[in-house]
Amino acid sequence: MIRIENAHKRYRWRKVLDGVTFSAEKGQITCLVGMNGAGKSTLLKAIMGLTPLSKGSIRVDGVGSKRELYEKVSFIPDHAAMPGGLRLEEGLQFMADYYKSWNESRAQELMTFFRLNPRDRVGNLSKGTAAKFGLVLGLALDTEFVLMDEPFSGIDVFSREMIGDVFSSRLIEDRGVLVTTHEIDEIEHLLDRAVLLKDGKVVRDIDCEQVRDEQGKSVLDVMREVYRG
């Protein structure tokens, strides 16, 4: 489980996170929902130690150090996070060199699934192709948790379908997934939980299936209630 407790973060004078508390469980897909600037990406970066919190704590089960964290949790930002001059095959080699949890056969499987050319250079990839390569780098790690930041942002409809397929595949099974997205309709039917952020606070933390069964509402309906008043 990833447990975020009373997270506070300020950017200059603006409070981005104001006492955020929630958990993401292993084996579940949890979606962080919020308007632009709600602090979703900041939270993911804080979990990975890519930005320090002003106050609060983050705990990941079974992780005692940052080194362990990066072998147990993978972060897929909305870009490839590799030098532009590197070929994709060199990017894969880079990951194999540094991560014990790197799974080469899965990486090759994903490269084939996304129809990526290993000889292409990172700097020449389109946004959609770079997002797919980012997914290869993140999902080919045998980690317990996967964090994804806006995996559908600015991507064409066919690429979205391919990325959407990943969510219902065995690549995700048994892992804990924490995803931020504006395009909630792409994965709404697959979500287990949704955490709605507003003004740096958690305003709703819902069990999606329960809300569907008991209230007959979708996550989008709940979002409308929260964000449109």
Partner: protein
């Protein structure tokens, strides 16, 4: 340690074409400067054009004379790579934060920790500096060969390699004759890089506030260095002056490394 060497190899790999370009540039500029200088000198006596006046004995022109007379060309060949390397002290960090696929995200998430990253970038800078220095020594051997090939026999005069080296003010700065001066020059360069790295990490950690903090940090360190260099005016023995300077230097080196490692492991934001 394995991660450090791998990161260092990556840093070298990423700069290799610029490095090769700079080395070629330096070689071409220096070879051209020497060729032009010898040609002009020979022409003064009409040796090359065959218009030499009989009875006029040309002044001999040694390799050391050539080096001493081509300092402008050498400055052009050396200072541009130096400027590139100075700029690269900043670029080596910032290129990983900007662009379409910021690499800083990946670098800061490596399981080997962030300390090897800092030292890999630091070592890379020194490797580049000393590679350029080594090239300059190789270039001198090539230039001497060029001198032997293009100088008319009538003008040739033997000279020692060291005389040629120290005929140029730039070489005196790059490769001082005394080892203590060498240590002082490169030690100050080393400290400069450490201070700039600490300044960059302050900025990457605290952004706009970080720029102010970095400026104050650099100003404080420079002031301390200036004060240390003025300590010989305090009627101290030379050994005491050296001790004061070395203490300040050691404190600044240790302080810069400590601050940088603290920032990169705890405060920096991708």
């Amino acid at each position: 340690m394995r991660h450090y060497f791998k990161l260092l190899a990556l840093e070298v790999r990423r700069f290799r074409w610029i490095m090769v370009g700079m080395m070629l540039y330096t070689l071409v500029v220096e070879c051209a400067a020497v060729a032009i200088d010898i040609h002009n000198f020979a022409n003064r006596y009409g040796i090359k054009e065959g218009t030499r006046e009989p009875g006029v004995v040309p002044q001999s022109y040694s390799f050391a004379d050539v080096i001493g007379n081509t300092q402008g060309g050498f400055a052009l060949g050396i200072f541009i790579p130096v400027a590139v390397l100075v700029a690269y002290v900043l670029v080596i960090w910032y290129r990983d934060w900007f662009g379409r696929h910021p690499f800083a995200f990946r670098q800061l998430m490596l399981p080997g920790g962030r300390i090897p990253l800092y030292f890999a970038k630091l070592t890379a800078i020194f490797l580049f500096v000393f590679s350029m220095l080594a090239l300059q020594l190789v270039a001198m051997a090539i230039l001497k060969l060029e001198y032997a090939m293009v100088t008319p026999e009538l003008l040739k005069e033997p000279s020692r390699f060291t005389d040629a080296m120290y005929a140029s003010e730039i070489f005196k700065l790059l490769l001082p004759l005394h080892f203590s001066q060498f240590l002082t020059n490169y030690g100050m360069g080393f400290l400069g890089v450490l201070l700039v790295f600490a300044g960059i990490l302050l900025e990457r950690s605290y952004r706009i506030r970080g720029i102010v903090l970095a400026a104050l940090y650099l100003a404080l360190n420079i002031t301390l260095l200036v004060l240390a260099s003025m300590s010989n005016e305090l009627s101290l023995y030379p050994s005491e002056t050296i001790a004061v300077c070395l203490t300040i230097f050691g404190l600044e080196v240790a302080g810069a490394i400590w601050l940088s490692l603290k920032l990169i492991t705890r405060k920096i934001s991708a």
